[in-house]
Symmetry: C2
């Protein structure tokens, strides 16, 4: 089993972090240099269908993209610690929070970076208003998560789940857009500091 990874993009980091929380695993990491266009090479495209990383190639050759789909599959192989829920009800609550994180926080912060960081100016026409509007959306979303974190240690409840990994990687990436957790959101600050202090936060991160 091979994970096609890229050290500088935020979505592959979700999977590296997830695997590090799981501990021992038999996934070989293959780093693609997206700045050299290695994710557009014909043999990779033939497997993954799209020029997307991360991608997981299973032992039978089936290859999937989409970080959350990859992690849910890996959880079937490495069930502990559980990150997607132990029964249908908990799975539903965890997925609700994961999707809120993705749509209300991770996507806006990614757009804020793409529309503001000089190194990404070649990828698209950067519009400062879009960066600013998405930075504000991210800050608004964090108020909602802060309220949840006032009563719970983690975003989806009292143990870590995929929602926390996606949220923490999004916030760390958003430093490239000069974003940070607003300090008045004390519960979110406490949670974010605890997340970044986990050993798994360092998985594949170049210092």
């Amino acid at each position: 089993m091979k994970l096609y990874d890229s050290f500088r993009a935020p979505n592959p980091r979700r999977v590296r972090w997830f695997l590090a929380e799981k501990g021992d695993h038999a996934v070989e990491i293959v780093n693609l240099d997206v700045f050299k266009g290695e994710h557009r090479a014909p043999d990779f495209l033939a497997k993954a269908g799209l020029a997307n990383v991360p991608a997981l190639e299973m032992d039978d050759g089936t290859t999937i993209t989409e970080s959350v789909a990859i992690c849910r599959y890996l959880e079937s192989l490495y069930p502990e610690p559980n990150m997607f829920g132990r029964d249908p009800k908990e799975t539903a609550v965890f997925e609700m929070w994961l999707r809120r994180v993705e749509m209300m926080l991770a996507t806006p912060l990614m757009l804020a970076v793409r529309h503001s960081h000089p190194a990404l100016a070649a990828l698209e026409t950067q519009i400062p208003e879009i960066a600013e509007s998405n930075r504000k959306s991210g800050a608004r979303a964090l108020k909602i998560f802060d309220r949840q974190l006032a009563d719970h240690e983690f975003i989806a409840g009292d143990r870590i789940s995929m929602a926390d990994i996606v949220a923490a990687t999004a916030i760390d990436f958003s430093r490239m857009a000069k974003f940070a957790v607003p300090e008045e959101l004390s519960h979110a600050v406490r949670w974010y500091e605890a997340m970044m202090a986990r050993p798994a936060a360092l998985a594949g991160v170049k210092s």
Copy 2:
């Protein structure tokens, strides 16, 4: 079990369609009039946490939002016909296609409607360039799905899955942005006509 629904929004329709494919069920549908702000009523907010529909209230009072999380939970109660995959590998492939549909097609088409339809002008500042750019993104994504549909009856493979329901409801909604499946994408046209001819396509749709 109660599904808080709203007849005029696209995401609740995913759940109505999904339940109609399942056939008999014990879910009571409660329609909220979002134009009257019924999704902002304090008793609803206390349950759902956010002013979002659809929301599913379980018999023990646990309430979840997010249409896909709701459908995955309902599949645990009503397993047939299967829409999320029968084993971890199929679940991974189905979720990959579902997420591609959501991010590459459904979100752009929703933004195209929000930024162009006169009835929604009160919700936000409409920017014609955003509508047009998202209409183009939707058309580009349909080329990818058209290639997949050249070899498969449905988007994730040879039977219907959640990806098809989300894609079809998104395209039908996008008529409000004067969007349609480009007729040269013959496989996508064939698939869309077949989807809209299913009895479940009519679930809760006012004529």
